[in-house]
């Protein structure tokens, strides 16, 4: 990979994280950092399923769909780029909420510019809270650009209407 590309990726990584010098080291730090970060957002949805069911679907689908290594290549005149990203999901289900955390560690092609938590930088956190016995509020903390496929997959799992996996080669 050419040096300009590496520099661009490193710069983009910094920008995506709001020009911070330290990345969130756990899910709670990530929840606090996202609302004020550049190119990040919190989305809220209402889902007609109880938290217990959402947690069960997260447990069933996240390990299968999100535990993976993704290799992407891009070729333009003068450059050939290979990026290897390892994704690690974590699901935590309690009486109060169902959580899905997704971390990403670049094994190749992208430089880590700040201290990386074990398992990779936090990419997304989705929390489901009970509204009542049958409905839940889903909060998704994550990037505002290029990761729609992740949000759609998690919405599909939360609603139970689409249990498909997100194509992680399509996320930025």
């Amino acid at each position: 990979m050419s040096m300009p590309l590496l520099s661009t990726l490193a710069a983009a990584t910094v920008l995506l994280c709001g020009c911070v010098t330290q990345h969130p080291q756990n899910a709670e730090d990530f929840r606090k950092a996202v609302p004020g970060a550049f190119l990040a957002r919190v989305e809220t949805f209402e889902v007609n399923r109880p938290v217990r069911d959402i947690g069960a679907t997260f447990r069933a689908r996240a390990p299968e769909c999100l535990t993976m290594k993704v290799t992407t290549t891009s070729q333009t005149p003068g450059s050939y780029q290979v990026i290897v990203a390892a994704y690690k999901p974590t699901v935590v289900v309690t009486e109060q909420r169902a959580e899905l955390h997704l971390q990403r560690h670049f094994e190749k092609g992208v430089m880590a510019v700040t201290k990386e938590p074990e398992g990779g930088y936090y990419l997304l956190v989705a929390d489901a809270y009970p509204i009542d016995a049958k409905r839940s509020r889903l909060e998704i903390f994550g990037p505002s650009k290029g990761h729609d496929v992740l949000t759609r997959a998690i919405m599909g799992w939360a609603t139970g209407k689409n249990l498909g996996c997100p194509d992680l080669t399509k996320i930025g």
Binding site: M68, Q75, T169
Partner: protein, 158 residues
């Protein structure tokens, strides 16, 4: 010298065309017991989505032996998987841009030991960046049958 170089070039070209990429067609010798339906769309006029099924045999020591690949270009394809033997099936979804800019591939893999005399139905779909593979053992009188749970290669010895 130039003649030898040309021959070498032709041989190289023929080798690539013959499948030196390592991908080989899956043999059609076995009775067809797996019916695969495929629906895939890249979602863009500038890119293409290809779906393929790679079949591996799994030995007693859990080592895999690549048997070949079935290109799932048609909406419906019949495949013969050795009955009563453990096979490792890998469905790959590969996108490539017509402009040659980028490509990516993602896959779904599972172990399957087909029961003799049974038929299996696999549905592979890809739309809007979401992919799904479901395998069912067909039930009596065209009923839905039972869903086959995904088993990764790491579960081979269990």
């Amino acid at each position: 010298m130039i003649f030898r170089l040309r021959i070498a070039g032709w041989l190289l070209g023929a080798c690539v065309l013959a499948g030196c990429s390592g991908i080989k067609p899956y043999p059609e010798a076995l009775p067809k017991n797996l019916h695969v339906t495929t629906e895939a769309s890249s979602g863009s006029a500038l890119s293409r989505m290809r779906v393929a099924l790679h079949v591996h045999l799994v030995g007693a020591d859990c080592r895999t032996e690549y048997q070949g690949t079935v290109q799932l270009n048609e909406p419906s394809v019949q495949v013969g998987i050795p009955p009563d033997r453990l096979s490792y099936l890998v469905f790959s979804f590969s996108s490539s841009s017509f402009l040659g800019g980028s490509s990516g591939s993602i896959s779904y893999d599972t172990l399957l030991r087909p029961r003799p005399g049974q038929t299996y139905i696999a549905r592979a779909s890809y739309a809007d960046g979401i992919y799904h593979v479901e395998i069912r053992e067909s039930g009596p009188r065209r009923s839905a049958g039972r869903e086959i749970e995904r088993r990764g290669l790491d579960e081979c010895g269990r």
